[in-house]
Subunit: 429 residues, 2 copies
Amino acid sequence: MDILFRNVLILADPSTGKVQKGELAVHEGTISYVGEKAPATTYDRVIEGENNLILPGFKNAHSHSAMVFARSSSDDLPLSRWLNERIFPLEEHLREGDVYALSKVAILEYLSSGITASADMYYFPEEIAKAGDDLGFRFLIVGTPKEDGEGLDEFIALCRNYNQNPSSLCHFVPGFHAEYTANEKMLLALSKASHELNAPVWAHNSETFDEVEACKKRHHGLTPTEYMESLGLFDYGGGGYHCVYFSPHDFEIFQKHHCHFVSCPGSNSKLASGIASLTRVNELGINLALGTDGPGSNNALDMFYEMRFASVLQKIKEKKADAFDGLLALKAATIGGALALGMEDATTLKEGNKADIVMLDLKRPSMQPLNDIARNIVYSGSKDCVLLTMVNGKVLYEKGNFYVGEDMSSIYQKAQEITNRLLKESEAS
Amino acid sequence: MDILFRNVLILADPSTGKVQKGELAVHEGTISYVGEKAPATTYDRVIEGENNLILPGFKNAHSHSAMVFARSSSDDLPLSRWLNERIFPLEEHLREGDVYALSKVAILEYLSSGITASADMYYFPEEIAKAGDDLGFRFLIVGTPKEDGEGLDEFIALCRNYNQNPSSLCHFVPGFHAEYTANEKMLLALSKASHELNAPVWAHNSETFDEVEACKKRHHGLTPTEYMESLGLFDYGGGGYHCVYFSPHDFEIFQKHHCHFVSCPGSNSKLASGIASLTRVNELGINLALGTDGPGSNNALDMFYEMRFASVLQKIKEKKADAFDGLLALKAATIGGALALGMEDATTLKEGNKADIVMLDLKRPSMQPLNDIARNIVYSGSKDCVLLTMVNGKVLYEKGNFYVGEDMSSIYQKAQEITNRLLKESEAS
């Protein structure tokens, strides 16, 4: 399949904010040309850009997609009641097939927000991968060996199977939920898996103040980051989700091991966890990515929200309107996310890179006038600006419609049925 | 013109969050029926709702619409440089006709966000009114007598002319920019105008810490709120924009005079001003409304952003995930805004009220599943959910298109030309 984007403005490298007019060609899932005038071959489709903007698709570096069942059924509660009275009792009743069906709703929402790939961590990880592959969406799935650390060989085989399978859009890396829900036997097994696979390790890290304090008590004063490092979990890099309460030494460890810092400002503010220091991340040259977190806590799966939150919450935190330039948020949502997801060939729009592309409608009133298009995206963009989302060279979303091989309404209906069942069963038990 | 909304879910009173299935009929700009089954008369148009949601249009309680020229040309700067190096030099070159043309872009954006009325305060106030009337959009315009307090009679006549003119959608009330840019002679004239018109007085109030401290120094320890009260400016009510640094006594004054508290969380965070205490406003029973502020500071004119910001910034401020229920934000964006704008008949969807209505697409993935529709709006809603915006019984926005009697592209082009001219002239001078 050969596709040509014609008459487009191109934000090839979002970190520069620089836009050029031209054409972009796609051949079999890969960008084959970016520049003024593409080769005059025959294209299967010519997309008339009408001077709208294309840029690399957004990368969502942290989510629990299937948690759409919890959206708006668990708001405005303190964190402990949210987890113990709502989320855990609902999750208890998840059955085989649920995560597959629920993840599809999230994929539609990612596409509607210009997101072309997402990291995920949840129960039934192979169902997440199947949802991604069936709809044509990319996932980096963070999987965990069994609680007692057993089944390590199967876990390593699972990772290898997916990561070496050219027909899957999904990759697996080792990780675990968080220090406070993990036992050391499993973590040592995970460390072994990381060394065997030469793979980074991911986990929720220092999301709340209490989490850090409890970890220090359990592990001779070590923070979650220090504890993970002590187990060799960062020997092949890795990263942390949230990282709201990071000590100077935690930052040093991330810097030393080239770990990725994934901030989830939407979730952290809604759950009142706090504001991570993204200015510090930037000063230290640590790679920053943004994550929506799951729809049970955020509740929007929307990279526009995350970019804006990332930037303005830093301004509030630092009490300086010039803290954390909006361009840094745009970079984190694209380049930073791609690096965190291990997709070095999906950072920018250039020849040979993945054809994971979003087209934004510059004729929305929020994009007018065209003073600084990149900052328009961060500070006044929203989902209504997304004209088209392409993953792996395929248009999966265009002008409000989804092209994922399955009817939107049947996806919604199945998710609603599962949600109703979970609510019913959790109330009954 | 008689219009019927059929097969809709109706959120008649957003403060309850309760949704009922039914029909809503509109006759000549007024809601003529809300319930299960509308009278079987002939309708000029039947809008098939397909089980989507209608609710009262959002009311934007503070803006400077014409400042679209400054959007994204003045981001990521400290407040003083933002004002003195960007905004003021640009504003200096505003000419007759500019505010009229620029305000139209903002009106389109309001409509795309489901906003049916906006308060405004800016240069050339009659041009704002003309833009509203020409496009069919409602403005409450806060006008000011001349700096020296002269021209008071003309100002009062202007207010009366608009407020008694049934063919205008715009009203005028007295107000002024802020204590720090006002002289007492003008304020005394304004107080006189307020008493003569029995009208509330509006102003920016306590947006920054420094503003309050400087006011105290100038006025024997009085805060801006106390100073305004001392001049009789709240004798007929009124309100304040921003109100980030309010003392307990300031809150008491607002409570006593039934003043409206307009919070602008998007602007206050982007300019690092701080977080107003909306939980306190709520505890005291003061009417709360939300404002986008102008596109020079926010930059989005988007009530979904403001609702979400209003709620989650309180959670961050109070360090409690259950602080400030999302429903309170939805109430502020609809009922609270209508009351602040003096539109008591635009608060809820009921017979006799204004036909200012927004229809939201519940088939967007961010609205699925349907657990709690009202909280879905606040926590995962965005402009892409707006299917239709009706003002005064007329559909001005539907499925991404504008029906305002003027071509969108000509509106954009004029605004871009003016913006380019302002940038050029401000650089040259």
